[in-house]
Amino acid sequence: MTVDELKPIIESLIYVSEEPISVKQLAALLEGESMDDVQAAADQLTEEFNARAGGLELRQLAGGYRITTRPEFSEYVRRYLKSQPSARLSLAALETLAVIAYKQPITIPEILEIRGVTSTSAIKTLLDRRLIVAKGHKQVVGRPMLYGTSKDFLIHFGLNDLSELPNLEDFEDLMTS
């Protein structure tokens, strides 16, 4: 199939997919098409889709493609869905999450060392919300549990992968000016 023929098919699949769908998954569904063609079609589709400047945008989240409404129109969408903004994370939970995100995989005692405060309830919240997951044990005495961020974390914060996290060094000079 040509790239032009692939585009609408890919668009349909992205629309139907509940989770962000990766190029690999798309290629698997489009048996016989090369990954390069699929990627090229997806890239072109993204450009054309977003150039329309409509109410939807096609983005890359957690290593896959997803169609979402544009944030500017959230008020109207919420009217329709009659939904409330979901509970926000507390400052403690956010900071704990930041430590885990940048230093993963990391154990709870190590988190405590960096933050200086015990954050067990924050960690519980993060686990409940599936923003962090256990990633095995550290091979030291006691074999403490290691934690890292999950795919849901990427989706929740609109990241395609961990490299999109803001640079820590950017926050270093807030005080020294």
Binding site: V16, P20, R66, L89, A98, Y102, I114, V117, L168
Partner: protein, 259 residues
């Protein structure tokens, strides 16, 4: 009479100051309870005093810090243990800086007693900044919606058949087991979570696992049921796929590729 009058004015005077005090108290309360930890409070003080984080005037900052702690206690805000530990740390650093340096000690050993604290503050600040950015991103993401869920294809005969076929294998092994009169009674306390983890581990070691083998290896009826339920759970969670190469053939469990 005069006394009475002056008493009155005194009382009304007090009432005014009391309400004024209450207002500022509330403001103070809000402000002070915003310090989630001692490092937050220190960063705030450093910024407020407009001093450099790399050269903290410990005497001044500790004094301010202790004053804030006192105010917090007076305003009935619970002061967490960590704040007190930090107070002790600050005083400790202060005393270390007041002590004369040992002239005999080599230069490398005489480290600035503030260093560890400065390091902690810098790290804390970095993560605080990152947390803030993450918060804003989350707000943006929360405003972007996806299409509502589509109905699951429960009528799909393929899906239904696979589960049914799995049950057939299960029943077959179970029936064979009944024929053996003696079965080892094992006190098997394994939970489903453990069984699921075990199956996942098996799939990590080999590309596919035969469902029949899995059932046959069970040491008790309970374990067989556990295996069956665990496999169903894993299928539901889209962690594995069940395939059958021939109509009445064995069912093979294959790990599902993560996205």
């Amino acid at each position: 009479m005069k006394e009475g009058l002056s008493q009155e004015t005194e009382q009304s005077g007090t009432a005014e100051t009391q309400s004024e005090f209450a207002e500022t108290t509330d403001q103070y309360k809000v402000k002070l309870s915003m310090f989630e930890g001692p490092l937050d409070l220190l960063l705030y003080l450093i910024r407020k005093e407009e001093v450099s984080i790399y050269d903290i005037p410990i005497a001044r900052i500790s004094e301010q810090y202790l004053e804030y702690l006192r105010a917090m206690e007076e305003l009935d805000i619970g002061v967490a243990g960590e704040f007190l530990v930090m107070a002790a740390t600050l005083i400790h650093i202060k005393t270390q800086m007041l002590l004369p340096r040992d002239p005999d000690a080599p230069l490398e050993e005489t480290e600035d007693p503030r260093n560890e604290l400065v390091y902690q503050l810098l790290e804390h600040q970095k993560f605080k900044g990152a947390a803030n950015v993450l918060h804003q991103r989350a707000m943006m993401e929360a405003a972007a919606f996806t299409r509502a869920s589509m109905d699951e294809d429960t009528d799909n005969p393929e899906v239904a058949a696979t589960v049914f076929k799995l049950f057939e294998v299960f029943k077959e092994v179970m029936d064979r087991r009944q024929a053996i009169s003696e079965m080892e009674i094992v006190r098997d306390e394994m939970t489903m979570a453990e069984k699921i983890a075990e199956i996942k581990l098996m799939l990590n070691n080999s590309a596919e696992v035969s469902a029949r083998t899995l059932f046959e290896r069970a040491r008790s009826r309970r374990e067989m049921v556990l295996i069956f339920l665990s496999v169903l759970e894993l299928v539901k969670g889209l962690a594995i796929r069940l395939t059958q190469s021939e109509i009445f053939g064995d069912i093979v469990i294959v790990k599902r590729e993560a996205a």
